[in-house]
């Protein structure tokens, strides 16, 4: 795998690497892709219509409002909070 591809994937993944880490990532990903490339030998097509057996729409609950966790519980793991999740300014 080329360095540029690893840079592109890192951007998609919202990850950043030092130059040294990038070099190692290129090496690792090249080796991993060698295994993944074995499936290029096989002529196979995915049929999405065969593959919906794990969706049990009939068992979903009725669309009714139910009590949820309270705000304090939902915020207990946020590092920065003022009775809401605090994020850096996104609008100038």
């Amino acid at each position: 795998m080329e360095l540029e591809m690893v840079r592109y994937l890192s951007k998609l993944a919202k990850l950043e690497f030092t130059d040294e880490e990038l070099e190692r990532a290129v090496e690792d990903m090249t080796s991993i892709i060698e295994i993944m490339d074995t499936i290029k030998d096989i002529d196979i097509t995915y049929d999405p219509y065969k593959d919906n057996h794990n969706v049990y729409l009939e068992d979903l609950r009725a669309d009714e409002a139910k009590p949820s966790l309270d705000t304090a519980k939902l915020l207990q793991n946020a590092v920065s909070q003022e009775n809401c999740f605090v994020v850096p300014k996104v609008v100038e």
Binding site: M1, I39, D47, N54, N77
Partner: protein, 482 residues
Amino acid sequence: MIELTISELRKKLDSKEISAAELTKEYLDRIDKVDGKVESYITVTPEKALEQAAAAQKRIDEGNAPALCGIPMAIKDNICTVDVKTTAASRMLENFVPPYNATVMDRLESEGTVVLGKLSMDEFAMGGSTQTSAFKKTKNPYDLNCVPGGSSGGSAAAVSADLCAAALGSDTGGSIRQPASFCGVTGLKPTYGRVSRFGLIAFASSLDQIGPVARSAEDCGTILNAIAGWDLHDGSMPKITEKPDFTSKIGMDMKGVRIGMVSEFFADSVDEEVRKSVLAAIDSYKAMGAEIVECSMPSLKYAIAAYYLISSAEASSNLSRYDGIKYGHRADVGGSYNDLIIASRSEGFGDEVKRRILLGNYALSSGYYDAYYGKAMGLKQKIREEYAGIFDQCDIIVTPTAPTVAYGTNENYHDPKKMYQADFCTVTVNIASLPAISTTCGYNKDGMPIGMSVVGRMWDEATVIGAADAFEKTFTRVPAKL
């Protein structure tokens, strides 16, 4: 007493030979003395465990104790426990305290189970050695210089070292069965959809399944009885309302049972001692009257690629929730919203997790999707069809659980390719949603445990448990010496 099975402990508790508190204290003492060497626990909760033991004792005294009442268990650290830190062995979740319980925890609590603490694992369950844990790189109780397997390495090592009576793990591509094999205990991966995934920190949602690690197949069945069953919070479960007894085939007669021997699982990459040991176990079944059917699974050679593409694609999507804002590690940086997310994720995730995210993004990215993810999904269907063909001729399949015994703590870790290829015996079971159990079938010349897996049809855990139990009754386990 701490080395006994759940069914033996049940008798001791019910006959008042030991109280739930005394039993709990024995395990806590053992953790104090031994876990410094094994490093299986990330968090121990002694006060909570003793409170639960006191409550369990009341039910025992009243004479209405369920099967797990007063039994000290421990839980893999990717299963949410309300008000008890749940880290998934990642810096990303180092301080995460869940505001709710996983469904399996509610079910264990309603049985009166005592929970001793949370067990180490590979970070976000990605790995087969427990050496990617950010906190405790667990050791194998049979040889502290070897890995316990993974990702549920803490669960298997803790059971093996008598640091709990049984444990819960999770299995996405072999993460219960392979460590059970390496640590000489029994581990069950139930059918996908049998146990609720609500509260399990997601890795690959179409493959993840919670299951037990214990000292016997019967104990695995007892735990599955407690944790299985439909849950409104998990949309991947069919609404099966009847509750089967997963121990109903304990003591089953193997006469006439058709056992599939799939040649590809005994490939050259399987260590000679492992192969011989599993073949000897198949001979034992034959001596019990089972019929051996030779079968083939041509797609097995593509299974590692299919598994890593599907699981990494799902992981890259599941792990996009870690942004440092709602929960999890938040980097101390200025700058934009995007800068905060990138820094938080880059600091919070370990190397293996980052590799899986990169691979998942590659498999799903424009221009590569059809060649990788699309083909992997096609292979998933093909593997399922091949299993269906095999189960037309057989009742169960017996395979090695892993191609080798436990390896040294520094081997493989820096070679992801080698690490991934070692999973070829287990991943197809997850791809096909099947139940499978691993139990010990021998020891190599150095005394390291060898595991075999019994794989069954979807929803037929009772038969795989029964077949594993039939073998266990003929086999003498050698406990780890610590």
